[in-house]
Symmetry: C2
Subunit: 334 residues, 2 copies
């Protein structure tokens, strides 16, 4: 059973993944490069090579775990958290730990091995987004879970171990530290101004016009004023909405458009860089969560995080967001 | 002038390094590999190829910026912060920023190009440590600075851009977020227990014996109970001491021994991995800093930080610290 251990000083939790223990030799030497054309368990026709699917978009009358799907959700074969059991919060002397209970799912975004999310039709991207929502709402029913984290790693440098385009979902039994910090920050701003900090940001970005990449009816994408990374890009719903899971069908269509367009601009500008994106949303069961405003943060992996960043929590960004926005605005993706 | 910009939600500061602006093309394609035997500005005899030295250990009667040195401190040629000027804290609509004032120095640890810190004589490591102290105390006299961060990046994957063994020092005009969090955590523990959290950790580690790597008279090195990374290792003074800069000559001798031994074990166990280390110490001018306990954190760079970590602040560590400690204990470095 994986363990969740708490750092006593920072209250940061760490997952000690006892199911995938790695010894020193596992870290030594270069990782064997995966050959193009090698076997991929996420490919169309290989449905029986993965754990049984939890959810899918598929042709009418096609059976689960057979071809005929457009989007497919499966449990992670090497989950960092396990769905069975109770938390068993306990101490070990001065230290605190609990069992690593949670859900860890993989969303296969397309049957096509060589397409990235940016290459898919906007209607296919919409299916992916609606799948995020469907799985999130289902896991919200499990009262052991406090948060659903939806994210995507693309490219080896961004932590992806499988090339085939996919996202991941991890449901956690506690509200993660970063999420708590974001809510605290939004609440502090609200207490002072009686306004949502993200709504204010949207207003200022639309007025300043120097960091906006693109807008749709319901969404805006821009470079934040203080980005940690070059070409870090955020997508926000224009209407105040704390929880991603409340997205409507119409909004998800619109989000698909802006997400595809933004990713395509980043892909073209930076030669298909590795990246992570993360959906920041309210915890599942906290009233104070209403102060926050869900959004999606895209972080191209172009620089290395080094000692200064680890020691300070400061980031050094060699590309001003105004410059990055200008480059991305000018990229033509029509 | 570099800018310090604050993320309005998380209060995280970011350095927008306007002096080293990088355009999209700078990130595209692989970085040219440096050839062995290529010119190195940190090599013995190349003293005139660096900015003028700020401090050095050198032969009696040898002139600055000439050969004859053992340890040499120079300003960083591409500083992320600039030493001249005032902070000029100001707003830009709802956003906050200030000028990037600070010091950024490089400590060249040895004249020998091919030796890493672990390979040096313990007396040379002691000179490096004493240099950290000397530079830190000097910068403490500049009342614009609130914190001195001492750190080391070794290996390209850990962010080093020059092979020649060196450390860095950055003095910042604000107390970094991570440091504030550590002090808050230590204070919360003290308020509840009336004891230092790090002193308690040392007691429990000595009693449990399952995570300790090695001990000297004044210091202990162990794997923390909740490490973010495989083989993450901490070195702490056994005596409660908030500020690294108060280290005595005798303690620095002893620290040199345990640092060399610990780094050598990591080097042997993991085939000379890239790593970062960071000295965590009290801010220069805060009374509440007395609750903390300075220490050095070594983080081998063996895994990739991906979307889950960025989104949650949770870390996934596939090697339990008890296993890592056992491996390192058994490595013979005599």
């Amino acid at each position: 059973m994986p363990e969740l251990r708490k750092d006593t000083v920072s209250n940061r939790w760490v997952i000690i993944a006892t199911d995938r223990v790695r010894r020193p030799n596992d870290y030594v030497g270069p990782v064997a490069e995966k050959k193009r054309g090698a076997f991929c368990p996420f490919d169309y026709g290989n449905e029986d090579k993965t754990p049984p699917e939890i959810f899918s978009y598929r042709e009418p009358h096609s059976a689960p775990n057979t071809p005929g799907w457009q989007v497919r959700v499966i449990p992670n074969k090497f989950p960092v958290l396990r769905v069975e059991g109770e938390l068993n919060r306990r101490g070990e002397g001065m230290y605190d730990l609990m069992d690593g209970v949670g859900a860890h799912e993989v969303i296969i975004e397309t049957p096509e091995h060589d397409k990235s999310l940016a290459d898919l039709d906007s209607s296919q991207v919409e299916k992916v987004i609606w799948t995020y929502r469907t799985r999130g709402l289902d896991l919200k029913n499990d009262i052991r879970f406090e948060y659903v984290l939806l994210f995507k790693n693309q490219g080896e440098a961004a932590g992806a171990t499988i090339d085939h385009s996919h996202s991941q979902l991890i449901a956690t039994p506690i509200v993660p530290k970063r999420v708590q910090e974001e809510i605290q920050g939004a609440k502090a701003y609200y207490d002072y101004k009686e306004r949502c900090v993200f709504c204010d940001m949207i207003r200022q970005e639309i007025k300043d016009k120097v960091r906006v990449i693109t807008e749709t009816r319901d969404f805006i994408s821009f470079e934040p004023f203080a980005p940690r990374f070059p070409f870090e890009t955020w997508i926000l719903p224009k209407k105040h909405s704390p929880e991603f899971l409340n997205i409507t069908k119409e909004e998800s269509q619109d989000l698909a458009k802006i997400l595809k367009e933004t990713l395509l601009k980043i892909k073209k500008a930076l030669n298909d860089p590795p990246f992570n994106y993360i959906i920041h949303t309210a915890p599942l069961r906290k009233v104070e969560a209403l102060y926050t405003h869900w959004h999606l943060e895209i972080m191209p992996k172009l620089t290395k995080v080094a000692g200064f960043e680890w020691g300070s929590g400061f980031y050094i960004n060699p590309t001003p967001p105004e410059d990055a926005a200008k480059y991305l605005q000018e990229i033509d993706v029509q």
